[in-house]
Symmetry: C2
Subunit: 415 residues, 2 copies
Amino acid sequence: MKNTLDPLEPKADKATVRRHNLSLVLRAVHDEGEATRAAVAARVGLTRAAVSSLVEQLLGGGFLTESGKTFSGQAGRPGTALRVARTGPAGLGVEINIDYVSVCVVDLAGTDRVRLTEHLDNRDVPPGEVLARAARIAARTLESAAEQELRPAGVRLALPGLVSGGTVRQAPNLGWNRVAAEELFGRALGAVRPGPGDLPVGSDNEANAAALAELWFGEGDGARARSFLYLSGEIGVGGAIVVDGELLRGAHGFAGEIGHVVADAEGPECRCGSRGCLEQYAGQAALLRGAGVDEQGGLPGVAELERRAAAGDARAVAALERAGRMLGLVLSGAVNLLDPDAVVLGGIYRPLMPWLGAAVDRELALRVVSGLWVAGGGRLRASSSSGDAARGAAALVVRDVIADPAGYAERVGTP
Amino acid sequence: MKNTLDPLEPKADKATVRRHNLSLVLRAVHDEGEATRAAVAARVGLTRAAVSSLVEQLLGGGFLTESGKTFSGQAGRPGTALRVARTGPAGLGVEINIDYVSVCVVDLAGTDRVRLTEHLDNRDVPPGEVLARAARIAARTLESAAEQELRPAGVRLALPGLVSGGTVRQAPNLGWNRVAAEELFGRALGAVRPGPGDLPVGSDNEANAAALAELWFGEGDGARARSFLYLSGEIGVGGAIVVDGELLRGAHGFAGEIGHVVADAEGPECRCGSRGCLEQYAGQAALLRGAGVDEQGGLPGVAELERRAAAGDARAVAALERAGRMLGLVLSGAVNLLDPDAVVLGGIYRPLMPWLGAAVDRELALRVVSGLWVAGGGRLRASSSSGDAARGAAALVVRDVIADPAGYAERVGTP
């Protein structure tokens, strides 16, 4: 039955408790942005003395810094303000998409500190070569990070396909099938990276990583939704489902594949083997083709489409309206199934929202059975500009550091 | 960020800990079916003495019974076998559907002990009257329960619509709109029920309740899936999503509405205001109409359809095949979004599976992008016969008793 009632935790040994509490304190400062020891103690429910001892260890390990004096709001006694360090522990995120690779390093606060993006065509290139190229880009990014004294705890790949257990099971738009991405990337990075030791490599779906970036770093009206559908418009259409601030990953890790939800049972064949998938109507190629822009045009093509739509080009506007209807159609089903707070459109949909949005919203208002979707009600929005898949992936690495700072210190050492 | 790290629980007062531990022990016996005090102590991590004291209280309160002597497997010392009581604490579940009302009382083990079902047409009857009728049926059921010495802690309604905060926001097939179902039912039950005091009334969507019954009581191959989509074929098509053994309820409690996911954008108008909803192709009326059976025929109509299909009637078989294709089409989208372990078809789909199943499975195998859906792979199945919405609703009441037996003793008293 549902209501899990766990026994009170058996008494943990002292070292385990301290390790746990180190993380609690680091996380408290991370979440607050800036906090005194007293504020941390109040938040985590430990004594001031215990917090002070933990803070000393975190300062020594380079996880926290203290800056100047501040006045605690409650007691009026001056306290030193703690912040997470801007150097040291960091995360490396590598988004490999169809027509670009974007690598970034974030610090403990999740701030994007180094970014290197290359636009290139990864289709019809052997997976090993794509991953080796990405590793070279990552190595250059790591050089910049080292100059900023940032030392990533690991790498997380963000990949446009079905990712599970370190392997891309399928990425139709890349033409990948059972590619051991983590292993290939890790080997390639080991060969080109300066410095000793291997960085642990993880991997995730790119829309998942982008959705987490939206959850953690999204700004602006309504960015605080805790349950939302995220769509990433690229050459393919990726998707992710966030429920109560957590990714819904599915039984095999393959949830969120909205690009392959059927929009029209009798529609054109899709690279996935099915017919009439949403991608066939709202993917980048379909959008460009519908607007009469060269469908191989990549991001410059999208910019051209945006220019034409802004200039009132009837064909461009009609193509975007059509794609918006199909997006709305499929999204209405997803909203009926999942009842999220919001729908967030990212990737190429972000700049195209002025011409897509109304049609999407209209379909949703017509077809969401709860009647809770009102066109113009603000529940449909473009993704924030402050997060993307590479940043989300890098932040996942940092999240692991925050969950176990002692583990990072053991592996990577202290400054 | 994701990894929530809670501080170690502050020291709870003794009474709260005892209350919590009472539930732990009751739940341990409930989950095991039969257990010695020693086995309970091992499972919950409390001392044998503490468990014995808690067991005494639970025996006194009528939550547990002990039966004969048994031998514990490990020590060889005889121990008394504990079981949850077959009398006393119970739950009342009331499913109000379009063309029937089914009421059941389950005991602490979740066993269906009393069942009263009336087939009748609830359409075009004022909601207050439908609920009053259901209350009379419930009162009769309670009389039978009392004769069996079962004393329900409360009632849970299972309703075919969008249910939130005690109100049916919308039930298109009943024609209900913002009906204060809990209040109306509670008042009606208070007027007709024998005995003192009001039973607390709760409410839920019927597919949600049926999915929980499937989760908790499902039997047979594959019934142990912890993540599945549940479809309830009735006059409408209800749906529920179970993820890791929990209902996914959505931001407003309206998740799972698969009956109103679009199957064909240009399809016939639906009572919900949209077009081409799955219900228009796979609801009971569409199925019967397609097969040339009187679409107002209700359950006898479904039995007639089943007879015709079994006899090889071409029109009946074709209608079921068509409905199966549309079910599979919409389900493929839901599987791409949610990546569940299994899809479970309940309600009228259960007897019709021999003629629906292959088409559903085929569409899924064609359209699920992970390639993990193999036709005939066993991930599509009919619901178990051992659970339904009324039982699921009643079990939800019992679950609350198990979560706080002391609360039940305070409210309802001891035997």
